[in-house]
Structure formats: C-alpha cells, structure tokens
Amino acid sequence: MMRIACMFRRGAWAPLPVLLFLTVGCGDLFDIQNPGQILDTDLNDPALIPVLITGLSSDVSDFMDNVGFAVARIGDEMAGSGSYGDTGFFRVGHADQGNVNGMWEQAHEAIWMAELHIARIETLIEPAAFASSPFVARAYVFQGIAHRTLGENYCQVVYSDPDEYGGLQPREVAFDSAVTSFTNALSYGTEFQEAAHAGLASAYADLGQWSQAVSEARLVDDDFVFEIFYDINDNENEIYDETHDRHEMSVFATFAGTFDPADPRAPFTKCDEVSGCPNSQGADGVTTHWRQEKFDDGGSEIPALSGKEARLIEAEAALRSGDLGEFTTQINRIRTLYGMPSITEPATAGALEYPNALDDGWSILDGERHLTLWLEGRRLWDLHRWNHPFLNGGTVVWEGENPRDSCMPVPSGECRVNPNFTCAEAAAGTLSG
C-alpha cells in the first residue's frame, strides 16, 4: 500500500508544515482499505490456478449468452418483442455498429484472459506439470470458443496488441486462431481432448475445410457437450432472464413456433394460451409472448461444443458431397438423442427456402441446425454462409430490411479509436456501411 510518507519523500522540497503532517501521515492513515479487491500480485499462487480459470469461464459466460440473445433477434430464431434500443435495430435485421460493442469486448477479453492466465500458470508450476495441465487445456478451449464465435458473428475481425493496434482482417483469421487454440488444447493433458476435437470440427467447418472437419467430428461422441456455465447468483443466463423475467423476445411467428407440439429441441410456452406466464405480450406491448423453455432457469447452461453439432457437420459434409444416405444417418443420430422419430432420406439435395417446407436435403439441414443449435448464437453464421433466402427481407413479426445483415460490423467502440481504419470501412458489407 502506498503511504503518504513515500509521497512526502518525493516532495522533499515541500515547506516546513509538512513535518507536522508527516507525524500524522505515517502508519496506515493514508492507506486505501478495500477488502473486496485482490491485488494482481496476490494471484501468484499455484493454489489459485483453478480460481483463475474459473474466472475465465465466467468471462466466456458473459460473452456467450449475449451472443445468443443478439443473434436470436438479428436472425430468424426469435421475434424481437422488446423495448431495448438494440432490439429496434436487430429485429429488422440491422446489426447496428453502436449496438454490437459489448460482445466484441467480451470476446476479446476472454481471448486475452486465456493468454494472460496461461502465461501466469507457466510461471507458477513446474514445466512438467504445466505441460499436462488440464487448466491450460481448458483455457485454450475457452480461447478457441471465443475466436470461433467472434469469427462466426462479426463480418471482419481485428486483433491488436496494447502497443500496436491491428487492422481489419477477414473473419477466417478468427477461425484460424480458433484452430490454433483448439490444437493447443490437445497438447495439454487428456481431460479436454473431446472438447478440442469438437472445437476443431466446427472451426474447420467454418473455414470450409470439410474433410478435416469431418475427421475431427468423428472423434466426438453423440452425447458429448461442453457447456458454458450460468448461475442465478453471479452470472444469470441472459436468454432466460430476457424471456422469463422479462419478455424481450418471443417464439411467436418464428420457425420454432410453427411446431405444435413444440420440437423438443426448441420448447416454448404460449403465454397467451396458458397460465403460468406473467405476461402474454412482449415488452413492446404488441407481440404475443411465446416464451422459450430451452433455458428454463437462470442457471441453464449453454452448449458451446457438442456431439450433436459434430453430427450436423458430418451431415452437412455428406450433403455437400451428395451422400444423402449418410446425411440422413447423421441427422437421425441427433434426433435419437432427443427421442424423436427418424426422418426418411430426402429425394433430393434441393435448396434452401424461406419459409422452410423441410422437403429436401438442404431445407432439412437448415431446419435441423436451426432447431438443434437454437439460441446458442450460431444461427447468424448459418444464414450468412448459406446466403439464406431469409436475408432478402425476411420477417419475424417486424418488416425486415432487404437485405438483412448476416453478420455484425466491427463495432463503433473499436473503429472510433483504432486509427487503422474508419468506421465506414469497419461496417463494410452491413447496413451500417
């Protein structure tokens, strides 16, 4: 702690009355006392490594439910039935630069925290222990998830150092970084091998490297899931909060809402028809509130890597190669997980359509990915990479822009202070541009 005496020593030229004050100033008189704070140096203790990585987990939690909430409204998963400022933009398909700062910041913080913690851990434990540390592996998995999710949802990415700010880069850079992080995770112990493979499968798929994606996906069991944790006390699942505690988005008039009874992967309650909901209409005072029940508790976890996604990757790869049998097999493996009846092999690969009639390979894949990965922050990437027909003025209650944004621009908080590009350049390819 800093003492006033130290300051006086540096200000030794100060006049005589200092002496009077020094007599009082010594001791603890001028210490800040704030028991809740932990000084950085206090963390240099091997016993605190789990605490560091749990903190990283908390950072990733902050990021992932925000992404889930935003993507649901920008895309076609949910009707933006709320009153938030960003909702007004998101629900018409406008990912405004001013409304996408938080997720950008949280993703980068998770990435940096992983780096920081791994570097600290290396100084705290023996090299051998470090080389097999499950904490290091987990940190890399978290880092890979952050890279991947950043790349899937932002049209361009930027990576900077405190001393050298970066420029705009294509989102593939984020996917490459995700591959690096997941690959690193494979090198540290055995505990997170499956998570790393699941991450690599999705990162390779994002890069369009389907054979590598399938190779990695095959190493992931159907029921594997790597979840992002939420807790009602410190880190409540925002999607739950915004649909149960509040009513900021609704299943009403969405693809998931067309199922009656609801698809088990996308459960919901029609609040206008049953009791038990506090509200039958959204926070906009207009839209019917159909409440999602996938996250039915403030502590509901959000899957980030999973066997079901691995199956979807294998199914898509098969569809792309024209193997409809393999495609159907992989889809049915997922449906079995949920106790759902199998589908029959579609007659053709067909094409994406809006609205979806689920009548051919691509529209089935579209529907299966939509429902299986519902509210997990993945849908916008699917819309983008498939150039989905929904993007051409598709509507979920609110009349959409044509075309709608299929990714988020580099946000205003970045472009306003990063001298390497303008905000217009940062918004290229979006309605903000």
Binding site: F21, F30, I32, P278
Partner: protein, 952 residues
C-alpha cells in the same frame, strides 16, 4: 472526555457570569442603558442577530438583537457614544446617543438590505475569515433574509435561482427525489459525480454523494436534502478553482458552505412554524389528450382508482420549533417534523430533524462552538422511471403495457422504502492568543446510513414467486481542519501582512451490504431468508486525504489586497509514482471607490482578479491492477479483472482565471456583481478508450484529457422604490457558460473533440422533406445535455411594511433534452400528437407525410435523436404573499406572527415537446448525457403552502 470538559467549563463560565453580574450591581447607578429595535427598512420585519456595539475608550461593549429585533445594552458608561449596528446583507448604520445615569436611551434602526457590503465577513475559500474587500474571487452569499420571503422545505429551495452560476437540476417529481447541483457548468470528464461541489456544514465536510440506489423507483435521494433548511443562517458559495485552491484535491467543482444558526440575545426566544399545503400535478402530456396519458383520467382503464385518476393532491404538513438564547453562552435548539405525501399511491416521506448548537468562551481568547444535527427520513416510493414494473411506464403506454389485463394497479404492489439517518457533529475552536495571531480548528464527523428495501410480494405480476432486496449503506467521514493567521503591519507605508497556514485531513469510509432473496413460499411479510434463493454482496472502502497550505496576503491602505498561496495534497488514490499534488493561487482585490476622486453617489467599486488551481482525485485503486471475486462454473470461486491499474495516475488539475467587479450606487439602491471566468482542466482523468481488440474492455484511468470551460455571471439588485408605505426591489442573476473537450489523449474518438463534455448525439433524419419515404438516419451532434444559460428574476413588493408580494422565476436553457417517454410511446403507437402518422403507417399509406414526420412519429422509425430537442424553459419557482400581523393583535406572550401563502413551480413555459422540462429518469447516477432525459418519471408538481410563523 471532550464533552465532559465542555460542560464543566461551560458551567464555570455561567457561574462566573452570575458572580460578575451580582458584584457589578452597585455600579449600575453610574451607568445608563441603551435599547431599541432594529427592523428591515423595506419590509418592517424585525431583524435578529444584528451586532450592536458601542466603542468606548478602546473597549467595546455589545450585544445582538433578538428575534423581535430588540436589543438592550446594560451598564453603558455615561456620556455621548456612537451605537453601531451591523448585520450580514445590510448596510451598517450608526447613531449617536447620550447616556445619562440610571436612564434608558432609545436608539432604533431601520436597515436597508445591501447586496454588496465590502466589510461583511466571509470564511469560505479564505484561510481564516476575511472581509469581502480582501477577496479576489467571486463569492455568493445567501443570508437568512434572502430566505425570509419563502417557505423552505429543502435546502435546494434556498439555492434555486439565487446565485449566478449555480444550476440545480431536479431529478424528478417523486417525493424524496433530490437534485443535481452544479457550479459554473462542467469542467471534468469524470462524470456528474466528479463535478459535484464539496459541501461543508459549520466547517465540517459532508458526503456529497447519493444515499444508496433506489433503482426501481428511479429515484436519487441526496445527502443535501437531509439538512434542515430552517436551521440555516447563511450559505456561502465559491464556484471555481480560483477560489477553492485552499480546499485542494476534489474542490474543482466548487464549494458550498452552510452555516447554521446560533443563539444569543439573552432570554429564550421561541419560533414555531406550521406549514400546511399540498402538491398537485396538472395535465400530463400534450393538451390534445384529455386523459393526460391515462394519468389524469383513467376511468376507462382496469385498476383505475375510484377517483377516476391516478393523480391526487399530495398533502404537505411541516412543524418546526426552535428556541434560542444565551448571552455569554449562546445556544440554539431546533426540531422539526414533516410529512409530505406524494401524488400517486402511497408515495410519501416523513422527516424528523433535531439540531443543538451552542458556543462558549472558556477563556477570553478561546471560543468553542459545538454544532450537532440528526435527521431521519422515511420515504415510500412508487415504482417509476425506466422500469417495466413501474406505474407510470405502464399507465402512460395505455394498452401497450406490461400489466396483466392492463390493470396497472398491480405495479403498486411493489413495496419500495428507504430510511435515512444522518448525524453531523462538529467542534469549531477559535483561539486568538494575541491580537496578531488567530487559529481555528474544526473537528467533526458526518455519519449517515441508508436502509433501502425493495419487495415484490408473492404473487406479484412480474415475478410471481416474489423477491426482496435490502441495501444497507453507511458513510462516515471525518474532518480535521486547522488554520492559523498571523497579521501584522509591515514596516512599509500602509502595508499590512497576513500570513496563514493550515492543514486538513479527511477520512472517508463507506460500507454497504446488499441482500437479495427470491422465490417465497407464500404471501405475508418477508425477510431476506424467506426466499429459496438468497445472495449477498458487501462493499467496504476507506480513503484518506490530507494536505496543507500556506498563504500570504498583503494589504495596502485597506484598498488593494494581493494574496498568494499554495496547497500541497496527498491522497490515498494517487499512484505510487505520483507524489504530492501542488495547487497555487494568486489573487488581487482593489477597492477603487475608496479614493477621494470617486463620486460619492457611486459608493462601492471593487475590482478583482484571481488565478488558482484545484483538482480531482482518481478513483480508489485506479493505480493498481486489481481483480474482483466472483463465481463461475456453477458457484465455484473465481476472479475476474477489475482494474488494469496505472502507477502514474494523479489528480486532474483545473486552473481557473476569473476577473470581475462588485459595485453599488445610490446608497446601495443599485448593485451589480460581474464575473468572467475561464477554466482549463488538464491531466483530466479519463478512461482511456482503447480498441477492445487489444484484449480487454477494461480501460485505464489516465491523466490525458483536457477540458476548457468559460463563461460569465451577473448578479444584480435594484431597490426601485422605498418608503414606509411601499417598497419594491428587483433582483436577478444571469449565467452563461460553455465547455468543450480539447483532448482525449492519443487515441481519440474524434466526434467528442471540441464539443461539450456532456455532448448528446442522436440519429437524425437525413431526408427530412421527402414525402412518403421512410427516413434515412445518421448520427449527429445535438447539443449539450445540461443548461448553458440560466437566469433568474426576483421581484419583492412590500406594502406598509407588512404585506409582501414576492415572485421568483428562473430560466434554464441552451441544452437539449430527450423525451424517452414520447419516443417509446410512439414505438407503441400511442402518443397523442402522432396518432395521424401512426394511423397512416398502420394503413400502409403514409404518402402525405415527410420523412421527418415519420422519423418522429412512425412507430417503425421514431428515433431518440428526433425526440431530443432544445430543452429551454422558464419556470415560476415561487410566488408568495406574506403578512406580518401587527403586534397589537397578538395575544399576550406572542411577539410576532407572519402568515404566508406560497406557490412553487406553479407555471412554466417551454417549447420542448415532452411532458416536463425538468425531472430525469436516471438522476445523477448515470453518465454525462444519458442522465438528461425524461423516461416515465413523475413531472415536477406545483406546491401550494400556507405557513404561519409565531415568535414568542
């Protein structure tokens, strides 16, 4: 121990006085008495606390007048003497009397108010005390007589519209809501909290922040409102760094010092005041809407009260009783009780206040004053503001609300209460061992607690299982403030020297516990443990600061005064590498009217100029990288980054140059005080905005910013006419100030440069005149969020020295203000002035409307920017009629009775399209510009009061 010492010494003093009294009785026949009454020459009101003195052969005998304005000088030596009377805010007078043995001479005085009196003593911003003629900076003084014509229920009532450059921004019309006080605008990047003036009460610094955070009420209760306005004797206001240098770090936002009453005048004198009245909210929203956004008329709405309106008159009753007296040991005790009901539901507040002040002189050259205050406030809020569970939000949105079945009465089931206890105690010790040396020591403590509870009962519509939250906050601040002055005449012609030194220590401790509980088993009253899920957080912080100053003042012929000085400060929150902060000052005051060549009708002209610096401290732990405890992985212990830390962080520094003059003409009938100021804040503390792509959203607090702020102020007063049958005086003030951001460091958001710190931006229609075309928006700068120009006019008309009509109006403008209410209602297709556009858009044919009209009124397009417009308004702050009942009408024992009818905030004029040009949803807790907006908060009510003040 100290109390024991005081009481014992006090008793000794009283005993000594009695002994002296009886031993001097035989001498009475060799002396006479002087008595009389002192009144205000305009209003005829008796003047208490007037200092009466008679100088006789190098010694002075004196007394002060009582509440009836009467005085009595016993044992006055025989002969012809001059009786001099002085009182703050009045021109001094003297009368020659001839005292004869055993006789009583009557000398009555009628004092005229004098806005500028160069010999009045002020203490704020000076090393000890100083005459106004010695001070090179502007100082605003509000005296008890300024308060005379108004019934005050809050301290802000005393300040509003009274001092040029002091702007009060109301936070909302809900009972218990406080106000933001700002002096000379904005000169920091540190948010509204960093711009608050320091508040001192009887020399003891008090907390300037807010009591807790009643968030569901969107209310902000301020420490300022805890003070009992009826106990205030005077208020001194210094506004900028040129004047606040001696207060050091944290004083760049100015200093307000409040002095409470002390006794005197001999026998106990009682004053009782009864205030009865009500508050009323008139028509809400656009006039074309007969329902007043469903608040004035809710007869068609489910849950509407039987009265057919959500609004009601809010009963106000207050009772104040004070007693003062003492001669050698002046004392003052006061107590008050107030009950203020709100205009909706159970909203209301009760206030209790106690004050005990006394002073005694254990030695001839030693004076000790003790001041103590305790207040308790119990406030009941209704859910308000930006709150989906709030009454106003749900009512004003009509059918587009959240309430089940549109029955908005369900919102009132939320129980929001706050109890505030506040205790201030202090000792002011003045020791004058020699005629040249004076020293003072102020020691005291400011201690307050806030207990806020927020309960959604079991079955509450928004959270059926119920919740309870309890915020307990405690603030304890200790002040130790020492100053000494050595005055002497230098061996030069007519040059006097006054050398001062001093040191201050301020220890600030805050502690808070927040408990939350949810999921109750059933109905009934609850505690935190009643819920299935519970959690708690705790905050605990102690910060200390200390500094010392040196000052030298040279005075030449009592006309020219040059003061130089400096202050050195240490602070807990400075970085390891920073050291001490030094703030210099220099000022000059020159009373040119003292020269013989100056025309006699222009009796006062003082020129003044000053340069000084002050600062603001960085926040706790800004210098350290710290981590905060949290949980992750389903309730496992975790740490997350809290503060990146900066070893070099120090205070920001505001340098101010001010110049001006104070003048009065025609025997004080016209007075004017003018000041120009320019402030430059360098090393401004700012959260250095860096690209998040470096890996963190956390910013570093750095000394990189620069802010410029300048403006000018006028304060004037005119006694238009004065006679026993009629007197009329007019006063007023004007302030204009503008600030702009000069630098934000190496990485800059260019939009913010050369614009006000509280710049407001918004989306504005770019194709305004296109018909039938949806608007295209772009972000534009709209204006500052806080008023840049204010003026106030006061007129006081008195008939026959008994009946006084008083009016005060205030203008605030030059800023933009957002109606979030209107914009959000448009989005819900319900805003009375927009219904034609809304209907057209619903019908799909809006070809007759321009893009601008759509940008304002179309539920698909309305932007906050279009609803952010010039916020100028003029408001009649106070209109009152007072009658001083003739003494002959009063019953035995009563010595005075004043009756008053007052209306406050009863009329306003504005072109701003929202509901109320004042009142804000977020109070001062939010950022610079975000906090200035209307968002379903209760408008400012008009208040009507009848008051009776008895003296006996």
């Amino acid at each position: 121990m100290r109390t024991h010492f005081n009481v014992r010494d006090g008793m000794a003093v009283i005993a000594s006085i009695l002994v002296l009294f009886f031993t001097t009785l035989p001498l009475a026949a060799q002396t006479g008495q002087v008595t009389g009454r002192i009144i205000n020459s305009n209003t005829g009101a008796p003047l208490s606390d007037v200092q009466i003195s008679v100088r006789i052969q190098g010694t002075t005998i004196g007394t002060i007048s009582n509440v009836q304005g009467r005085y009595l000088l016993l044992n006055t030596p025989l002969g012809t003497h001059t009786v001099e009377v002085e009182r703050l805010g009045y021109a001094a007078q003297s009368i020659q009397v001839t005292v004869t043995a055993g006789q009583t001479v009557v000398a009555n005085f009628e004092l005229m108010t004098q806005a500028i009196n160069l010999d009045e003593i002020v203490v704020t911003g000076t090393a000890g005390s100083a005459r106004r003629r010695e001070i090179g900076t502007s100082i605003g003084v509000i005296t008890a007589d300024d308060m005379e014509s108004m019934t005050v229920t809050a301290v802000t009532d005393l300040l509003q519209g009274q001092v040029a450059g002091l702007v009060i921004r109301q936070m909302g019309g809900a009972v218990g809501n406080g106000a933001e006080i700002m002096l000379r605008g904005v000169n920091t990047l540190g948010g509204p909290g960093g711009n608050r003036p320091l508040i001192y009460v009887d020399g003891i610094r008090i907390e300037t922040g807010l009591h807790g955070e009643p968030d569901e009420a969107s209310a902000q209760t301020t420490v300022f409102d805890d003070l009992d306005a009826n106990s205030i004797e005077r208020i001194e206001v210094i506004k900028g760094a040129a004047a606040t240098t001696l207060y050091g770090t944290e004083a760049a936002g100015g200093v307000i010092q409040i002095f409470t009453k002390i006794g005197g005048g001999g026998a106990p004198q009682w004053t009782a005041t009864i205030n009865q009245g009500f508050s009323r909210i008139g028509h809400v929203g656009p006039d074309i809407d007969p329902t007043g956004l469903h608040l004035n008329d809710c007869t068609m709405d489910p849950g509407c009260p039987e009265s057919g309106t959500w609004l009601k008159l809010g009963r106000i009753q207050e009772y104040n009783l004070s007693v003062r007296g003492g001669t050698d040991v002046p004392w003052y005790f006061a107590t008050s009780f107030g009950d203020t009901q709100g205009n909706i539901g159970d909203q209301g507040a009760t206030n209790y206040a106690l004050r005990a002040n006394f002073r005694f002189n254990p030695l001839d050259n030693l004076s000790i004053r003790a001041s103590n205050m305790f207040t308790r406030r119990n406030i009941i809020f209704v859910p308000d503001g930006n709150n989906a569970e709030g009454l106003l939000l749900n009512v004003m949105r009509g059918d587009r609300d959240y309430s089940p079945g549109h029955d908005d009465s369900a919102t009132l089931e939320m129980d929001l209460k706050q109890q505030i206890d506040h205790f201030i105690t202090g000792l002011n010790i003045t020791w004058t061992p020699t005629a040249n040396l004076s020293q003072r020591l102020n020691v005291g403590m400011d201690y307050s607690t806030s207990d806020y509870t927020e309960e959604r009962p079991w079955g509450f519509f928004f959270v059926p299982e119920g919740t309870r939250e309890n915020d307990l906050d405690l603030d304890r601040n200790i002040t130790v403030d020492y100053a000494g002055t050595w005055s002497t005449d230098l061996p030069f012609v007519d040059v006097a020297s006054s050398f001062s030194w001093g040191a201050q220590y301020y220890d600030e401790f805050s502690w808070g516990i927040n408990g939350f509980s949810e999921i109750f088993a059933g109905p009934g009253s609850k505690l935190l443990q009643s819920g299935v899920e519970t959690r708690a957080t705790e905050q605990w912080l102690r910060v200390a600061s200390g500094g010392f100053f040196l000052q030298e003042q040279f005075g030449w012929q009592d006309r020219l005064f040059v003061t130089v000085g400096g202050r050195w400060d240490g602070f807990s929150t400075f970085g390891e590498n920073f050291g001490l902060a030094f703030y210099p000052k220099i000022s000059a005051a020159f009373t040119i009217s003292d020269y013989d060549f100056w025309p006699s009708w222009w009796e006062t002209m003082k020129l003044r100029g000053a340069l000084g610096e002050s600062g603001r401290a960085p926040s706790p732990f800004a210098s350290k990288r710290t981590w905060a405890s949290t949980s992750g992985d389903d309730r496992q212990a975790a740490v997350i980054l809290d503060e990146l830390g900066n070893d070099d962080v120090g205070p920001e520094r505001t340098r101010e140059i001010e110049g001006g003059f104070e003048t009065s003409l025609f025997e004080g009938r016209f007075s004017l005080d003018f000041t120009y100021f320019t402030q430059s804040t360098t090393d401004a503390l700012l959260r250095l905005a860096r690209p998040a792509s470096i890996g963190t959203e956390e910013s570093i607090l750095t000394n990189l910013g620069e802010v410029a702020n300048s403006g000018y102020e006028f304060q004037g007063n005119v006694h238009v006419y004065s006679s026993p049958s009629l007197s009329w005086s007019v006063g007023g003030n004007y302030y204009h100030g503008e600030n702009k951001v000069i630098s934000l460091g190496p990485v800059t958001d260019e939009r913010l440069l050369n614009r006000p710190v509280d710049a407001r931006f918004g989306d504005i229609v770019q194709n305004p005149d296109e018909l039938g075309v949806r608007p295209k928006f772009a972000e534009e700068y709209l204006g500052p969020a806080r008023p840049t120009t204010t003026w106030a006019l006061n007129s006081r008309l008195t008939f026959f020295r008994r009946l006084t009509l008083d009016a005060l109006g205030e203008f605030q403008g030059g800023h933009v203000r957002q109606s979030g209410t209107a914009r959000q209602n448009v989005r819900r297709r319900y805003w009375p002035t927009c219904m034609d556009v809304i209907a057209a858009v619903e019908a799909g044919d809006y070809s007759m409307f321009t893009a601008k009209e759509l940008g304002l009124c179309s539920y698909r397009d309305a932007s906050y920017g279009e609803w952010t417009t010039l916020g100028d308004f003029f408001r009649l702050r106070s209109v009152s009629v007072s009658y001083r009942v003739p003494e002959t009408w009063l019953p035995a024992g009563a010595t005075g009775l004043t009756l008053r009818l007052q209306g406050r905030n009863i009329w306003h004029k504005t072109d701003w399209p929202g509901i109320d040009p004042e009142g804000n949803s977020y109070g001062t807790a939010a950022g610079w510009s975000w906090s200035i907006r209307e968002y379903y908060n209760l408008p400012t009510p008009a208040v009507y009061l009848f008051s009776a003040t008895f003296n006996f």
